[in-house]
């Protein structure tokens, strides 16, 4: 298959008067990990459901694995793997039976199915748990099994809707190792998440707000575009009083408490670590240490979501 794995063009879904997904356009190329971020209700799951052929778009179009989702949803379904937001395997069945069932659902059977199930058990590290009842597994292990069920038929594209919600950090890391292995083998991964640290693993990120795709780029590029200010972290004593003296000064975009210290975004032309240090000391803080920090995706997220979005074009000439 040539061309992008996923193409969405003006994809829109309305539920009555409510527009859940509004004119979303993007492309995801083969083997890419594409992160889809946004607050609850921003339209992430609705986008996935349209791309997986579960929900018909109101307007616009999308092609997944080369097939039109509205005209040929069955072909789409055969070529993709899908992990829905709600854990939906059969808790009363053993691990291996869940895999065998979903293999059968995709038309695998006999020796081919058994071999593939063994492969997946190996890949997901569930070999020792094959006979365990699924309901007895911890959340992270279940999610690995769910991913295993979604990739049994070797789909070219997998859609993962918040696959690590409620999973502990160690298990999340394991899970993302699996995702990166998949992508390295050429599988396209479309993943939504709440965890901004996870989004760093994605080659590109789309940010959804109120049904619109308001930003789309690689994590470093997003940071450059959306957080042009210098990010500084200040530590010391008596910072709170000094902070109020600093906020509101020209060129100071934000002063926020961050742990025991302060998190500042300042215009690079007007402020640097030295001048901020001086200003804080003048404001009454003691033992001040200021250093420059890399903006996080959280900064990006706050910048994007916190900003009003008039019309289709992002504010202040930003892309």
């Amino acid at each position: 298959m040539s061309g992008p794995s996923i193409q969405a063009l003006g994809l829109t879904r309305r539920f009555g008067p409510f527009t859940a997904v509004d004119q979303v356009t993007f492309e995801v190329s083969r083997g890419e990990i594409f992160g889809y971020l946004g607050a609850n209700g921003a339209g992430k799951s609705t986008t996935i459901r349209m791309l997986t052929g579960l929900l018909a778009p109101t307007s616009g179009e999308a092609r997944v694995a080369g097939f039109d989702v509205a005209r040929d949803p069955e072909a789409v379904k055969s070529s993709i793997g899908y992990m829905s937001q709600k854990f939906s395997l059969y808790l009363d069945l053993p691990v291996s039976e869940n895999l065998l069932f979903f293999g059968g659902a995709y038309g695998l059977w006999g020796k081919e199915l058994r071999l593939r199930v063994d492969e997946i058990l190996e890949l997901t590290g569930l070999r020792a748990l094959r006979a365990a009842t699924t309901g007895s597994l911890p959340g992270g292990t279940r999610q690995r099994l769910a991913l295993g069920c979604a990739i049994l038929h070797r789909p070219g594209v997998v859609f993962l809707d918040e696959p690590t919600a409620g999973v502990d950090p160690v298990a999340r890391r394991q899970f993302w190792r699996l995702i990166r292995d998949l992508a390295a083998e050429g599988t396209t991964v479309f993943v939504t998440t709440h965890y901004l640290d996870e989004a760093e693993y994605c080659r590109r990120i789309g940010l959804m707000a109120d049904g619109r795709l308001v930003a789309l780029d690689s994590p470093p590029a997003l940071k450059r575009t959306w957080v042009p200010e210098r990010v500084l972290v200040a530590r010391g004593r008596n910072l709170a009083a000094a902070a109020s003296a600093l906020s509101g000064r020209p060129g100071v975009a934000a002063v926020e408490p961050f742990g025991a210290g302060l998190h500042l975004r300042v215009e690079p032309e007007l402020w640097d670590a030295v001048s901020v240090h001086a200003a804080l000391a003048a404001g009454g803080a003691a033992e001040v240490a200021v250093e420059e920090a890399e903006p996080s995706l959280e900064d990006v997220f706050l910048a994007v979501v916190g900003r009003p979005q008039p019309g289709a074009a992002p504010a202040e000439g930003r892309p």
Binding site: L54, L55, K77, Y82, S84, K86, D92, A105, G107, C149
Partner: protein, 377 residues
């Protein structure tokens, strides 16, 4: 296995195999399918018997002769009535109210004399009509006893011409008028209907509630795959149930199978498919296990009990209900089973029942598949 059909069969097989695992892991399903119907059949079969024995009978013998004692003996000796009191007719109310007797026989003075003279003798029987089923049986039994006593006497006295000759009534097919023979085919329909509808009513709704339906819909699994995959294992279970109910019916209640067991099986199979399909339709429409259970129980229970002819003859129903009964599969099963089990009817007589069951089953399965929305909203 290659090709579209191959993939279809693999998918249906996968769903059926999964369903079998669910059933094996949930003893409640097996209980509902196999234990409950047998328990209910035994309860109904033994408990809801219309056959009465030792009906308490009070007697007011105003004659007190050999003939009158002979008459009372005729009531009591076969065991159908038991003499509870000797009293006057004025005590009837008291006896009935306290349940000491259900009937009171008044033998008039000069009974023996009038009988000997060949004069018309009228006996009085007061019956407690509070329970019409019982009252009817008492009347029928008393009528038969009096008639046979009269005939015996007339023969002995050589007065055969004196007694008006009445039509002798024979009861065909169920000569002893045993209610088990009447009830078991109806009960089989009733119990199978409930169990079958409830079994499948839960299964599709369960997939919706679990969220696995969304997962299935994102795969190549189609509506028909799900319907068939869900139907087949429960059909297997239903066949076991059918054999159990019929086995208990014939072994415990001595209900005969005069006709072909194959015909019994064919009727039962078509009925099961229809009932399982009804459960699937309910499940597909409600998407909720609780609602599906209630809707399933109501839709299976009431029509199969009230409109099937199991308890109440369809011929006696008001036109609207009679018309409605044509849509109730249990109607055809009850009619068919009684035909083949009690009368030994074959295909020549029972094909309309088979055809109706097949059509209703096909219609309900088509409706279930049609109402099954594969898209989410």
């Amino acid at each position: 296995m290659k090709g579209r059909l191959g993939h279809f069969l693999v998918r249906v097989g996968a769903i059926a195999a999964k369903e079998v695992l669910h059933i094996r892991r949930d003893p409640r399903t097996l209980y509902m399918a196999l234990v409950m119907p047998v328990v209910m059949l035994l309860l109904f079969g033994f408990g809801v018997s219309f056959d009465m024995e030792r009906i308490p009978l009070a007697v007011a013998d105003r004659d007190g002769t050999g003939a009158s004692r002979e008459l009372v003996d005729a009531f009591v000796a076969p065991g159908e009535f038991a003499l509870s009191h000797r009293s006057g007719p004025e005590e009837a109310h008291e006896l009935f109210r306290r349940g000491r007797a259900l009937a009171l026989l008044v033998v008039p003075r000069d009974y023996q004399r009038d009988l000997a003279r060949g004069a018309a003798v009228s006996l009085q029987l007061l019956v407690d009509g509070a329970d019409p089923v019982t009252a009817n049986q008492i009347l029928a039994k008393a009528d038969a006893i009096v008639r046979s006593v009269g005939q015996a006497r007339a023969l002995r006295a050589g007065l055969s011409g004196q007694l008006p000759l009445r039509v002798k009534v024979y009861t065909l097919y169920n000569p002893e008028a045993r209610s088990a023979e009447y009830l078991v085919p109806g009960l089989a329909a009733y119990l199978m209907a409930i169990a079958a509808v409830l079994l499948t009513a839960l299964t599709v709704a369960g997939e919706w509630e679990r969220g696995s339906m969304e997962q299935l819909f994102a795969s190549p699994v189609g509506r028909l795959d799900i319907i068939l995959g869900k139907l087949l294992p429960y059909l297997g279970l239903g066949i076991l149930q059918l054999l159990l109910v019929l086995g208990v019916g014939t072994a415990v209640f001595d209900v005969p199978i005069q006709g072909s067991p194959l015909m019994v099986f064919a009727l039962g199979l078509l009925f099961l498919v229809g009932m399982l399909g009804q459960g699937l339709l309910i499940s597909v429409v409600t998407r909720n296990q609780l609602v599906a259970t209630q809707a399933g129980a109501l839709s299976a229970l009431l029509p199969s009990m009230l409109l099937s002819g199991m308890l109440f003859p369809i011929e006696n129903m008001p036109l609207v209900l009679r018309a409605l009964s044509y849509l109730i599969p249990a109607r055809y099963l009850v009619h068919g089973l009684r035909g083949v089990m009690l009368k030994g009817n074959g295909l020549a007589v029972l094909w309309p029942d088979l055809l109706a069951l097949a059509l209703l089953a096909a219609a309900v399965l088509a409706a279930a598949t049609g109402r099954f929305k594969r898209r989410l909203a």
